[in-house]
Symmetry: C2
Subunit: 412 residues, 2 copies
């Protein structure tokens, strides 16, 4: 293998965080939040590399998060990735100073890697939208008339996007009353998750009135994260007409600490499924823009050490792709800023066991799951959910996406 | 009158921006965005005052916007307002240096006064919700079942909140097809405005899981702005099921350049209308939390110099108040950050001519307005809309809110 196919960092090979991956994140090093790149079970301190003169022009590495790197745009992203490949390759000369490489085990948990500008969440899985439509509108067409014409989406709360590992307090709120009874107020009794993949954009802010065409997606999409769109179904069901989800979603959205660069996903890119009817001109996005990511949802019930995978699904057959989502979100002239985050919407497949939410996995709470010896419809206090994903890396290896975990805390 | 009832600044008295008002904003002075306070047709350069030692501990005045002041919290807000009253009072000793006072006419247009964290838009006018319900659901109950139980709201796009004066490009998008015909794509043919009042919050960020009770509103609400929630009704009508408005709103939201402190509005505070049925405990907010603001929408059609007021309405009878909106938005444990912006929703009254949108003023486009010699249903390219507001100031004077104007540019 060539030098760029392996790294001098021990344990990187086969870890899913090998030299063909190099996801970015932020960890606290010597008391300061620091941009890093992950390699195996280590991180490379990019600020230290910059200060040593190993990363030309990487002033962004002095920032407290990845915001500067996101803003720097695609030529900097490409040059940085190339340079990091050189520094970490088996035959690197020079190698970074020894103390620039830190074992993750010696560091506090990673921080939220970037400040989220706006957070948009889509609804782009045909199977998810169909499943949900069947549960909520059993007598009607499962898909609403607009669904195949545009990637339906809405704005979520950017300020409550949190990093993996952040505990999630069970939200309280109003629920739909029974008949003419009083409106119940209290802790959600239908706390759910949504398995999603998010992408974060960068480059200079766009100007008001200027759409981002699908052809510009490659220069705007920095990378992807796994995303758990925690959802309180009972709060959502009562509040959501006519303006959409609000408090049923805004209490927390968890993302990976590691942002996998789009450039690391070449081997995972596949053609998206055909779209019927054909989409409008501004949504046409030729090319292999689907991502063949293998995703799973694991649930560890409260008071157990056991964990069970409750859903496995591929991201490859999402109906709407990232370039289409980005072009649609800006088709009205809305601007984007570095750090804007776009969620895919729940990823579900057509078969039982491939659904990305408990709502679907339990058919609206009617068919409980049996998980590690206990029964679950929605989440109980103390339950931990972990989202995981992997895909093919360059050269046939496996690339592991940063996982997203979160434990449910009791309502306050 | 006492010295604090009048200012040494010429022209302040009776301008609506007298010493009892003192709204904050940001203007470019000597090339740098600078926090200022408005007095009459002048601004006082707060950075200069700080550098001269006239504002103790006002490090926030060195920032490029009001973000630092918002974060500083209510004791700093009160002390700063008090100190500015001293510096601008008729008998001030010392007065700020002469070059700290700048005529607005000599300065470029004010900038967006703060970076918006998250932007939430409510739907809190009973008359607006009723009017819209009648237009869209003529055969049903105009109000949906949740409306009197909680302040319905959703997240808008923070990154496209712009300052008054920013031109608004007509958005393009998809519209609902006729019968089984193709989906039309093109410039919106139903471009509308929404007359709203927004409030911005501050103080330290809250912790995830901690609601902000109604009793904390006074220490969290920094001030208010007028807000135009530009809306493309045709885009909105096709996209909005089931996740709410998205591109029909996200192309632009305009706010005043001047943030009127809550503390300046004491004389405008009145009891809100009664709520029936009684609201949940977490939404109870005793006190005079309605604001008796007189609002108007003025329209200047393209190719005319004429302007006509098309709507006049009071803000006093909004059904849901600011403390209720803030408590509701955080009742699920969602955090707030300094700079988070909350819109009231369209302000409409019960009579013809008091509606805060063209949708309502023209009854869904069926009854065109006659404005300055021309006919209008929705906005035409070149039209300018101006939102204005005023209320009682301390001592019986009139306090004028910063106006919000915007001209429609043709679609690109």
């Amino acid at each position: 293998m060539s030098s760029r196919d392996s790294s001098w960092v021990p344990g990187a090979e086969g870890s899913g965080f090998d030299i063909d991956h190099l996801p970015y994140g932020v960890v606290v090093i010597d008391g300061a939040p620091t941009p890093v790149v992950r390699i195996g079970a280590h991180v490379l301190d990019l600020r230290r590399c910059h200060d040593e003169g190993l990363l030309d022009g990487a002033g962004w590495a002095r920032a407290a998060d990845l915001g500067g790197l996101l803003a720097a745009g695609p030529s900097v992203w490409a040059a940085t990735r190339d340079r990091l490949g050189d520094l970490l390759a088996a035959d690197a000369t020079p190698r970074p100073p020894a103390d620039a490489l830190r074992p993750l085990a010696d560091l506090p948990a990673p921080l939220l890697p970037f400040t989220v500008g706006d957070y948009v969440d889509f609804y782009s899985s045909l199977h998810h939208a169909t499943n949900v439509g069947r549960i909520f509108r059993p007598d009607g067409e499962p898909l609403l008339p607009n669904w195949r014409h545009l990637p339906v989406g809405y704005h979520g709360r950017a300020g409550t996007v949190v990093v993996s590992g952040t505990p999630v307090t069970r939200p309280s709120g109003q629920r739909r009353p029974q008949d003419d009874g009083p409106v119940p107020v209290g802790p959600s009794t239908a706390l759910d998750i949504e398995l999603e993949v998010g992408f974060v954009v960068g480059g200079p802010p766009t100007a008001l009135g200027d759409p981002v065409p699908t052809s510009a997606a490659a220069e705007r999409i920095f990378g992807v994260v796994l995303l758990n769109d925690w959802s309180a179904r009972d709060i959502q069901a009562w509040e959501y007409v006519p303006l959409g989800p609000f408090l049923g979603k805004s209490f927390a959205t968890s993302i990976s600490p590691w942002v996998t660069p789009l450039a690391a996903l070449d081997a995972a890119r596949v053609p998206p499924p055909p779209q019927d009817p054909p989409v409008a001109a501004y949504l046409q996005a030729p090319g292999e823009w689907a991502l063949d990511l293998s995703l799973e949802v694991a649930l560890s019930p409260a008071d157990t050490d056991a964990e069970e995978v409750v859903s496995r699904v591929s991201f490859a057959d999402m109906y709407w792709t990232m370039p289409q989502q980005l072009a649609h979100a800006t088709s009205n002239g809305a601007t984007i800023r570095p750090g804007d985050l776009f969620g895919s919407g729940t990823v579900s497949g057509p078969e039982r066991g491939t659904e990305g939410s408990l709502l679907e996995l339990t058919v609206g709470g009617q068919e409980p799951l049996h998980v590690a010896g206990v029964q679950r419809t929605y989440l109980e206090d103390g339950d931990t959910v972990v989202l995981r994903g992997h895909c093919a890396g360059r050269g046939g290896g496996r690339l592991v996406l940063g996982e997203v975990s979160g434990q449910v805390l009791p309502a306050r």
